[in-house]
């Protein structure tokens, strides 16, 4: 892990860009140290996502948590995958035509999960070796398929707050049944890009004894502020 820049923010926390091999990422650490860690998931594209990620990191810092994120394979400045680009184009076409998307979602999301999860795990290795970062660790956000795989395979992650999405390969429903950590799922009831019933089915499949669904009105980016606060309290309950 190689830090490439740093800046002190007005709340006293430290924001540092890093690279881990060829993967760019950002780490935010609060003034209190060592801090539990929240991994900030996102749909890809660190530059575009930066304002929202920085907002979530600021909220995490206020609660005494470090936060970190990395670029997804094939997104942002990372090399494109021809197969993924093809699948993305096919998905757009199929959605516009109202055609079934299951096979395309498999082609798009399964390889992404296969590549991204080990990268998040390597990032976790590196972050937890820093003196200012400690466990426990939470995973927050999308891609929900990545969050579910991490919840199953990565024992250092003790709680996850996931953004409900319907672009979940059918095979992930079986994985969801193997999740046992506390889960907080945020669903935008009228999310234009999601199939609500599939999102509810996935929530139902999750094996955790403690799982909570918070559904709110508004579209994909219309999450109300109080829903963000509820999610923050979920992590405060489980990472302290």
């Amino acid at each position: 892990m190689h830090f490439t820049s740093e800046q002190r923010l007005d709340d006293g926390s430290l924001e540092r860009d890093f690279t881990l091999g060829a993967i760019p990422g950002i780490l935010w650490t609060p003034t209190s140290s060592p801090a539990p860690l929240i991994l900030l998931g996102h749909p890809g594209g660190l530059r575009t996502m930066y304002p929202r990620l920085a907002g979530r990191a600021r909220r995490s810092a206020a609660d005494g948590f470090a936060a970190a994120t990395i670029e997804l394979p094939g997104s942002g400045d990372r090399p494109r995958s021809a197969d993924a680009e093809q699948a993305r184009a096919d998905l757009r076409r199929a959605l516009a035509a109202g055609e079934p998307v299951d096979e395309i979602v498999d082609r798009l999301v399964l390889p992404l999960v296969e590549r991204a999860v080990p990268e998040w795990q390597s990032t976790l290795d590196a972050l937890l070796s820093l003196p200012e970062v400690s466990g426990p660790v939470g995973y927050s956000g999308g891609v929900i398929a990545i969050g579910i795989r991490l919840a199953v395979v990565e024992p250092r992650i003790v709680a996850a707050g996931l953004f409900a999405g319907s672009f979940v390969p059918g095979a992930m429903f079986d994985e969801a049944r193997r999740v046992t950590i506390p889960l907080h799922v945020l669903l935008q009831w009228d999310d234009e890009g999601n199939d609500r019933q599939r999102a509810l089915d996935l929530f139902d499949a999750i094996g955790s004894q403690e799982k909570t669904l918070h559904a709110n009105m508004g579209g994909h980016t219309g999450v109300p502020q109080f829903a963000g606060e509820d999610a923050a309290r979920f992590f405060a309950r489980h990472l302290k």
Copy 2:
């Protein structure tokens, strides 16, 4: 409104039994006055429900709210209705036999709503004439059909936190579409006494721009403590 007994609780709030005509009720007022008011709905049977109602009232008092409840028509010490008793017995039989219950639910719940809602409104008249109780007013709990009717017809109620139930007459779905106040709906995902899909359909039908569904694991009485705290924050947002 006639107060029949009073006791000072260890948190400083005052618990008073009252009667309004033939209707028994309980009023809790916090130390700060005048206080906004939360009406505590329940499925009927004040004596049986007392420990849970008192717990909810205590939480309301901690947030600076008065709380009040009345006995439902045909429950507790109030005269039984032969039709309602028959409908209740029919419902138990139909549920045990796995038969459709829609017609029975209509017979049981619609007359209850017709009788209970004007009683809640008269209670509100009396409570709001007390110097220690002010608006705004919230309605919290079940019976969800009563909560929905009150949300539609009673303009003094500005927010409602409802316990999802599936024993909702079909006609109430049209009323749900006319609800415009902020609504917080609590759903126990594995509630043995409820039809989850019908509860989700009812949530979907609610017309409010701000409506939130919190679904948690556990049966009917297994609401986790953090879900109660989320509901309390909902009222704090809307009644202050």
